[in-house]
């Protein structure tokens, strides 16, 4: 069950992504409505992070294309923000929470220019929004996991984008922080932003999201939460890998076959 929407804010067409020629995502076709709070759900190794990395242009596509606001990513980068996984950076980096949030302004500032006072004010305001106003000058390694996650969120807010992709923002976060973050995300969507979140907890997913993508090497379902959260579809998503698909993937890697003939 893959529900397509008219005038989508995000369109993914026939997307296949491979590492070392082995596809980890097969033929994903999906559209998302603007203003949704979307969860990408699936078991470990299902390609959830891969999907948003592919959308953000961080890994090469074997086939297909991605359109945001009906355009290529490069034309609309300012309106798109990304929150990487917390573990993807070295938190021992000599920077304060404010320094990191300020990075959210970098794309607006322009090449070779430095952040100005106004940018700093925006960054401080974003820190306040995530409840870290008292931690602006704290070195980032001295923040707890949940606080680090909120710093990342504040950085994305500082970018003032229209669509946000977040990779596991609830990983290693305590319950209180998780509730605080989801509240912020809800506020964002009510004010017209679109938020896409990689998430792996089924229980909370039902209450958090109003749109859900079920993923396991391929897109199993995409649609409003209440329609997608059925026993059958969940069974299909979590019921193990498709052996044929996995075997064909292994063969492609072993035989060093191109995923698409013309991309050899």
């Amino acid at each position: 069950m893959i529900i397509q929407v008219p005038n989508p804010i995000l369109e993914v067409h026939d997307l296949t992504v491979a590492y070392h020629r082995k596809p980890v995502l097969w033929g994903v076709d999906l559209t998302l409505p603007a203003g949704s709070l979307t969860g990408i759900i699936g078991p470990n190794g299902a390609g959830k992070s891969t999907l948003i990395k592919a959308i953000m242009g961080l890994i090469p596509l074997s086939s297909g294309f991605v359109k945001l606001f009906g355009k290529d990513l490069d034309e609309v980068r300012q309106k798109v923000s990304y929150v990487p996984q917390r573990e993807s950076v070295d938190w021992d980096f000599p920077a304060s929470a404010l320094d990191v949030v300020l990075m959210g302004r970098y794309s607006q500032i322009g090449l070779f220019k430095r952040p100005r006072k106004a940018d700093k004010e925006v960054a401080v305001e974003c820190l306040r929004k995530v409840g870290l106003q008292n931690f602006a000058n704290r070195q980032i390694s001295q923040l707890s996991g949940g606080q680090q996650q909120r710093v990342f969120l504040a950085r994305a807010l500082a970018q003032d984008a229209d669509i946000y992709f977040m990779d596991e923002p609830f990983a290693g976060v305590d319950a209180a922080t998780e509730a605080a973050i989801i509240e912020i995300l809800r506020n964002m969507t009510t004010s017209g932003k679109t938020v896409v979140v990689v998430h792996h907890d089924l229980q909370s997913a039902v209450t958090y999201f109003n749109w859900v993508l079920l993923l396991n090497m391929r897109l199993v379902a995409s649609g409003p939460t209440e329609k997608v959260f059925t026993q059958d579809l969940l069974q299909e998503t979590y019921g193990g890998k498709l052996t044929v698909l996995a075997k064909v993937g292994d063969l492609l890697e072993k035989q060093q076959f191109p995923s698409r003939e013309d991309k050899a």
């Binding site: 242009g57 923000s81 920077a95 970098y106 070779f112 409840g131 001295q142």
Partner: protein
């Protein structure tokens, strides 16, 4: 006066390398810096052989090309030949360095560099090699001018592109997502490392270059949590090592470059032991940290 020139040269090398080193160690590329500083040698020798003299421009060019080639080779071996990364680095730079030393020994009569000089430079001779203009004005040692220009270049890079370098270093995937080319900044940085290495090579040799690239930056990293301050501290420790190193070398009549490297190590050890936040003698700080987490849960 000559002591002054030697210390000044050392200090210029120190500041240039330490600043670049801050980026290298935060990008976990300290050993790539080590590799480049060895691998530029054949570039220097070839430039020497082709231009037939010890001119600065051909040498900078030759070594710059080799420096970039080194990063390409490491990446090629790692990505295309699928050799593990540490081995790619190790194989590449030992090979190129061996090539450089062989070229020197084969063309010994044509190339005015000897094997030892490659390792620990000829900083003591810096004051002898002065730049005299056509009108006969003595502008002081050439090395000072060359190193000075490279330092200015590095400073220009850091001042104009502070935020680009910062974000590509801290969080490359976010940087790429907001449209900053991580590859571009990687290669700009590597070019600067190559230039700094080759300009320093003659005066201080491969070893001191590596020491100055890595050790003062690492020392500064142990002492501060702010990147701007880390840059400043690294530069200060670099200068300090070159002054103390010179004094030590004249005390025991040994290699000046070796003594300067020794001093970078000594300062590192002091920071390693006594750093208020990260030294091995810290203890009470752990308590601070727990206190902070309790404070956080209220938010």
């Amino acid at each position: 006066m000559s002591s002054f020139w030697i210390i000044l040269t050392g200090a210029l090398v120190a500041v240039t390398c330490s600043l670049l080193g801050c980026y290298l160690i935060l990008r976990r590329m300290a050993m790539v810096g080590d590799a480049i500083s060895h691998a530029v040698l054949p570039g220097i020798v070839l430039a020497f052989l082709i231009s037939g003299s010890r001119q600065t421009i051909p040498m900078l060019l030759g070594a710059g090309i080799l420096g970039i080639l080194t990063t390409f080779l490491i990446e090629f071996l790692h990505k295309k030949a699928r050799l593990q990364e540490d081995a790619s680095i190790g194989v590449t730079f030992t090979w190129l360095f061996a090539l450089g030393v062989i070229l020197i020994s084969v063309f010994a009569n044509k190339v005015d560099i000897d094997q030892e000089c490659v390792l620990y430079g000829e900083i003591a001779y810096v004051p002898l090699n002065v730049w005299i203009t056509d009108t006969g004005t003595n502008l002081g040692p050439q090395a000072i001018w060359i190193m000075g220009s490279i330092l200015v270049l590095v400073l220009i890079m850091i001042f104009t592109s502070y935020k680009e370098l910062l974000v590509t270093t801290f969080d490359p995937s976010y940087a790429a997502a907001i449209g900053f080319s991580t590859a571009l900044w990687h290669y700009i940085l590597m070019s600067m490392v190559s230039l700094a290495t080759v300009a320093s090579f003659e005066s201080v040799g491969a070893i001191l270059v590596v020491a100055f690239l890595i050790v003062p930056a690492a020392t500064a990293y142990l002492l501060t949590d702010r990147f701007e301050l880390m840059l400043v501290l690294a530069a200060v420790f670099g200068i300090l090592s070159s002054v103390l190193g010179y004094l030590l070398a004249s005390q025991i009549d040994g290699s000046i470059a070796g003594a300067m490297a020794t001093m970078t190590g000594l300062i590192f050890v002091l920071a390693f032991i006594f750093s208020p936040r990260y030294g091995i003698l810290r203890k009470k700080n752990e308590a601070d940290k727990t206190g902070m987490i309790i404070e956080e849960s209220k938010v």
